[in-house]
């Protein structure tokens, strides 16, 4: 499976979301964009949430650390954590090469779908990135 970055939704804070139907449920897979990973550079640590935790849209669900700084990860949608990518924190170097497939961080069972309307499509997100340099 290869996720097409141009079909994903993006938050202003650089997280991407892939929404899919699984068994009648809407599931959001969340990661961080290639642009953000490039900006962060030299990643050393990632903190994941616990499975079963409920997160509101816009709430911090984890953090990613580069050599220089800690960056909180914000959930673009509200929902319950049903899976975390446990191998990711030990393989952060691979996040660089593959932010959209290997780089998924959490899967949420969406509770609050309304927040999806505030997200950007790829074109709008690219424009934001270009403007922020």
């Amino acid at each position: 499976m290869s996720r097409d970055k141009s079909k994903l939704l993006y938050a202003e804070t650089h997280e991407w979301v892939d929404v899919a139907e699984e068994g009648g449920q809407k599931i959001a897979t969340i990661g961080i964009s290639g642009f953000a990973i490039e900006q962060l550079n030299d990643l050393v640590y990632m903190e994941l949430p616990e499975v079963g935790k409920t997160i509101d849209a816009g709430e911090e669900f984890g953090e990613v650390e580069s050599v220089k700084a800690v960056s909180p990860l914000y959930s673009p949608v509200g929902g319950e954590v049903i899976e975390v990518h446990a191998e990711l924190p030990d393989n952060l170097d691979q996040l660089n090469d593959d932010p959209y497939d290997f780089g998924w961080i959490v899967k949420l069972k969406i509770v609050d779908e309304s927040a999806l309307e505030n997200l950007m499509d790829f074109a709008a997100y690219e424009k934001q990135c270009a403007e922020s340099g």
Binding site: D42, V64, V67, L73
Partner: protein, 378 residues
């Protein structure tokens, strides 16, 4: 992830600012200047410094010059370190303290002689403290009327070349071979008839030297150095690598390990105080701390696991009592695991096991000797 801060504000540029931008550096505001934090990556620049050499633009640091009779006496009064017996060509690390012994800045003082036999002293101060130190010095000048004090920061640039190959590679770039200097010696030489101060000092734990050149010569000298080291792995490095390098070497950074609430003894910088031979500002307060023993101590910690403990995290004793704070911390690229320095209550400083509160989660940590990294001796 956070959104970029796009607040409009102007920052000073060093004479190498254009070079950094065209060289692909990521620029950040630092102490009123726009400075490169990294070019390619902090980690690769860090390794280049440990394995070959790295060039750092440190022009943001303040360069203050003292000419004329009484300069030594003035500096003797200003600094924790004796200056009257500093020979020409000598460099000393010391501090400027207030009357209570609180550290206003940590500095290097050099005694230099120009080709026309003029002797003067150069004080290198932290960028963030330059204005404060200039204002602190001004009233002292009344007692030393023959001293001419000048802030040379904006007329000059400063470049650090640090790494095991720095000396060998740059031996022939100046009229005087800098590898003939001993550690903590400096002298004025020239390159293509343009004056250069070369000093065998640095802030990375590696061998190397620091240069002061005229601002208009900065880009030429910088490019010269890079060209000289091109085939052996010299790279330009930013403030990010400078910070991880100095942390491994356990060198204090003003605003982190040092500030006005910390005296030199508490900071673990006894070696940079000459308390016995003269009076200076803050002497009595520092001597009192020395005889009573400091209430807090700077220690090294190794956080367990891979999660770095950053500045500001609480440090707890093994029985859960908050006993101090992390002053600097992060991943160590050389060692491959996180390191941290902390200021803790003296009574707990000899324990071997601690806990660190990393944003709400307790993480174990073990005390270790400083520095974390010492360069291999030749």
């Amino acid at each position: 992830m956070s959104q970029a801060d796009s607040s409009p504000q102007t920052y000073a540029q060093t004479p190498l600012g254009d070079w950094h931008r065209s060289g692909g550096a990521k620029m950040v505001p630092f102490a009123g200047y726009e400075m490169p934090i990294q070019y390619e990556s902090i980690v690769s620049e860090h390794h280049a410094c440990r394995n070959a050499a790295a060039l750092f633009d440190v022009s943001h640091m303040g360069r203050l010059r003292f000419d004329g009779d009484g300069s030594e006496a003035l500096l003797d009064r200003l600094l924790t370190r004796r200056v009257t017996d500093l020979p020409v060509g000598g460099v000393r690390y010391g501090m400027v303290c207030n009357q209570d012994g609180g550290i206003l800045d940590d500095v290097l003082v050099s005694h230099l002689k120009t080709p026309s036999e003029t002797r003067y002293h150069l004080l290198v101060v932290n960028a963030s403290n330059r204005e404060k130190i200039v204002e602190w010095i001004k009233p002292l000048l009344d007692d030393f009327p023959r001293v001419t004090f000048s802030d040379r920061t904006e007329l000059t640039a400063m470049i650090a070349v640090q790494g095991p190959l720095a000396m060998e590679t740059c031996k022939r770039l100046f009229s005087f071979d800098p590898s003939r200097l001993k550690y903590y010696q400096a002298r004025i030489t020239d390159q293509f008839s343009k004056p250069v101060i070369v000093s065998r000092t640095g802030y990375t734990g590696e061998d190397g030297f620091e240069l002061v050149v005229r601002a208009e010569e900065a880009t030429r000298v910088w490019e010269n150095l890079l060209l000289a080291g091109r085939d052996v792995g010299f790279v330009p490095a930013g403030l990010g690598a400078r910070d991880t390098l100095r942390m491994e070497a356990a060198m204090p950074l003003y605003g982190h390990e040092l500030d006005e609430t910390v005296d030199p003894i508490t900071a673990g910088l006894n070696f940079a105080c000459n308390l016995e031979d003269r009076d200076f500002i803050g002497r009595d307060a520092i001597a009192a701390v020395k005889s009573a023993g400091p209430r807090r101590v700077r220690i090294g910690l190794l956080p367990g696991g891979r999660r770095p403990a950053r500045e500001g995290c609480d440090v707890l004793s093994s029985d859960g009592q908050v006993i101090g704070k992390i002053t600097s911390g992060g991943p160590s690229p050389t060692l491959g695991f996180p390191i941290a320095m902390a200021m803790v209550d003296a009574e707990h400083a000899t324990a071997s096991e601690f806990e660190i509160d990393i944003r709400g989660k307790r993480s174990p940590a073990t005390r270790t000797k400083l520095p974390f990294y010492r360069r291999p001796q030749k």
